[in-house]
């Protein structure tokens, strides 16, 4: 299973710990989609912050994904749900380190 598949799997399973482990120590996750829902964008810096941030989002049902589709080794699209507001989104793994861990991942409206 490659990194984009693991990313989708952890997001579908609401596995915040597994998600964080996909990232480099200083890895960042930037999600621009919430802006279109009148919510603040996600700019989460560091694997510990990714763990804590998504623990909060998943536990309180503020974020989830559905209908995922892997496009290639670095891209996947899905329907992202931000507190009930759905957005067709595309995730891009922009950079990875030598160990294959994500240094930067961005999500934008598709």
């Amino acid at each position: 299973m490659n990194i984009i598949q693991k990313y989708i799997e952890t997001m579908e399973n609401r596995d915040y710990e597994g998600l964080a482990e996909l990232f480099d120590c200083d890895g960042t996750l930037v999600d621009h989609c919430p802006k279109g829902t009148l919510q603040p964008e996600y700019h989460v810096y560091g694997k510990e912050a990714i763990n804590m941030f998504f623990r909060n989002k998943f536990t309180f049902g503020k974020f989830s994904i559905s209908e995922p589709e892997i496009i290639d080794e670095r891209h996947a699209k899905f329907v992202a749900n931000y507190s009930g507001y759905m957005v067709m989104a595309i995730a891009t793994i922009r950079y990875t380190n030598e160990e294959g861990l994500i240094q930067k991942l961005s999500v934008r409206p598709k």
Partner: protein, 262 residues
């Protein structure tokens, strides 16, 4: 050394604040339902009036600081108590003590909550609290709400804390112009007997408000940390701080709301 009054100073954050102030050599008057230097029920109009009168009798030369810390969580089944104590118990005591604070160019610190930034409060109630200020009318409205639903209690709790923060912002300019600074602290989840007893989904929800400074520990803030910030805001080192809501939550608000810088 100065003279300070505090509400809810018998334990928790208030108790630690009393301890720190006394260690610094200050005189501290604790106003609490039980066990205080002044015993008063700040959830009632009469209790507030009695507390204010006694404070004036005890401190004819004025106060260096008033710390409004008394409050209850959203878990209490008495929804009206949340409103009467948390909001009206705070602002009425602060307003009734203003002349004492003015005499010594003192300051006021109010305890809000970091939940105000998490979107769980009823903003219609916040507006009613800040804009109408009609306690009896608001209590009448709330009496019809479902007191058995924990999320209702929590939404009222957050609303009272949000309204307190907004009251601080609104009042701060005129008070400062007359020599009295007013600020608020917004604590994160703090160790209390109540939080220690939480189990199951309630515990899961608590842990899903992560405290970055406690990463990996499943631990909460401790009262001393909040008290330290309160004492700082009352000190000369905070002389330039007015109308601020100081989040003392180990970074929870920054984690969940990184894009809000103002």
């Amino acid at each position: 050394m100065g003279t300070y009054a505090i509400t809810g100073g018998s334990g928790g954050i208030g108790g630690q604040t009393v301890k720190l102030l006394k260690e610094a050599g200050h005189e501290v008057i604790n106003i609490d339902l039980k066990g205080g230097d002044i015993s008063a029920n700040l959830a009632s109009c009469e209790g507030r009036r009695e507390a204010i009168e006694e404070l004036h009798q005890r401190c004819p030369d004025g106060l260096d600081g008033l710390i409004c810390n008394a409050g209850v969580s959203g878990a209490v089944s008495n929804l009206q108590l949340i409103v009467s104590l948390n909001y009206f118990g705070t602002i009425e005591l602060a307003k009734g003590s203003f002349e004492l604070l003015r005499k010594k160019k003192g300051c006021c610190v109010v305890t809000s909550s970091n939940t105000i930034s998490q979107g769980a409060g009823r903003m219609d109630l916040v507006d009613l609290l800040n804009n109408s200020g009609n306690e009896q009318m608001i209590l009448n409205l709330i009496s019809k709400w479902d007191s058995t639903n924990l999320s209702v209690g929590n939404s009222i709790y957050v609303a009272t804390k949000y309204a307190l923060a907004r009251w601080v912002r609104r009042i701060s300019s005129s008070w400062a112009a007359r020599g009295v600074r007013v600020n608020a602290v917004a604590p994160g989840n703090v160790q209390t007997p109540m939080t220690a007893a939480l189990q199951g989904s309630a515990r899961d929800a608590l842990n899903a408000l992560p405290i970055p400074a406690r990463y990996g520990q499943e631990a909460l803030m401790v009262p001393e940390e909040i008290a330290g910030a309160i004492v700082f805001l009352t000190s000369k080192y905070a002389a330039g701080i007015n109308g601020n809501i100081l989040f003392v939550d180990g970074g929870t608000d920054a984690l969940l709301n990184s894009e809000k810088v103002y």
